[in-house]
Symmetry: C2
Subunit: 229 residues, 2 copies
DNA sequence: CTTTACAAGTGTATTTTTTACACTCATGAA
DNA sequence: TTCATGAGTGTAAAAAATACACTTGTAAAG
């Protein structure tokens, strides 16, 4: 059943930049394309927006279909509309960025068919389309965002140590932070709850586990509080 | 010459939230719709993206056509894709926000046909489509942005006084600022150039005029400097 | 000519925040 | 018992943010 319009219409896609944190490094999830164009190139997960779904819903669906991920932090990033960004025809892509708890989800990818893998965010292979540009935009957004919004917690397990949290910030910001000052400032926010648990592994002193108090944060936000690390 | 596709395709538009600063208040430029749907309602300037133009180009063109504005600060804001945001059919709108020097441009609107007018950003009439939502998003963005990027200068004449600049910040942030502290901090950035000119009007002490040193700011930015007011 | 009204312009002391910095502690493995 | 390893902790100095009130220069009014 064909659909006909008086003027040509661009196709509409969503692409997702999925970040994870693992082995002390910021990672991004890519899939290998099975078809032309850019067959066998690595690309951001994504696909066409259906007529009856919102952009957000399309991003969530594609994420689920292509990478098996669900219940992730998702936020619209930017819309890319260069005329020849897709060699076939005009395609507008609404890019999203997602943050996932690497530990919670299956090791690499519970993928339907396509191959999926995590790459260090700063060391990706040549990407399809303008995806390198999208990734760059997402990295800038994440770096800017992490200081003003408590999104870092989305990348760590629900229970985490202060050292893990600091390592995350160091990886994303790309510079070392002073341990004592970092802890002081973080705890002063009074948004972490110390659990009655410690790490148990390893031949070293156990570390205190914390969780982020989402409820408290939301209450403060309504009063105009701004997270600042 | 009709165009046919296997699946239905959404139409693609751009909408612009144009901010100006005038009479001590933040204003937004609206146009009155001449046709259905929402005939006679006020709306954001905007229109369909053509097949051969980028999103940015479409925003600039619509701005020129509907409001006569050109050479304005323009930045992509967010893409709105709710399914029934346009009662006719599926329409995806890429929203932009623009900042104009109210003094530089024609008093209200060198409009082709439609009626255009400035409204206080916080006191707009009922708007067409989801434009109230877009405007709200733009206001939040502007409030957040003005503190970390020198976009305020885009709303003032090229030559301005410190009092004008402070009034702008007070209007956008919605709270009063201390005159001496504000000036101290602003001048400490060392990004303003004192001109050999003062205001001349009025029965009161003349005020020193300044301009923003764009060149210097860009040089600093390349070295990692972050504007912070 | 003098007075008046009005926004422009200016400095310091106090408080708060940020920074720099080095050792002891708890654990499991050797 | 010793060792290796990351966890955990406090203080002093510097920098930044804040609070705060009077004098100045101009044109208009008297």
């Amino acid at each position: 059943m064909p659909f006909t319009y008086l003027y040509p219409r661009a196709a509409l896609t969503v692409d997702c930049v999925v970040f994870g944190f693992d082995e002390g490094a910021l990672k991004v999830l890519l899939i290998r394309r099975g078809i032309e164009p850019f067959q066998n190139h690595w690309a951001l997960p994504g696909g066409f927006v259906r007529p009856d779904e919102t952009l957000d819903a399309a991003a969530l669906r594609e994420l689920q279909e292509e990478t098996g991920l669900h219940e992730v932090y998702l936020e619209q990033l930017y819309t890319f509309g260069e005329i020849h960004r897709d060699p076939r025809e005009r395609v507008i892509s609404v890019a999203y960025f997602a943050l996932v708890r690497r530990a919670d989800h299956a090791p690499a990818a519970a993928t339907d068919a396509a191959e999926a893998a995590w790459f260090e965010a700063e060391k990706v292979p040549a990407l399809a389309f303008d995806h390198a540009n999208i990734l760059k935009t997402a990295l800038e957004r994440l770096r800017g965002k992490i200081r003003w919004q408590p999104v870092g917690f989305e990348l760590l397990p629900k229970k985490f140590t202060l050292s893990q949290f600091q390592a995350l910030y160091e990886a994303i910001l790309g510079r070392e932070l002073d341990k004592r000052n970092f802890r002081k400032k973080l705890l002063a926010l009074d948004l972490l709850v110390a659990l009655e648990e410690t790490t148990t592994a390893a031949s070293r002193r156990p570390a205190q586990l914390f969780r982020f108090d989402q409820r408290k944060y939301q209450a403060l936000t309504r009063k105009g509080f701004i997270f600042d690390l």
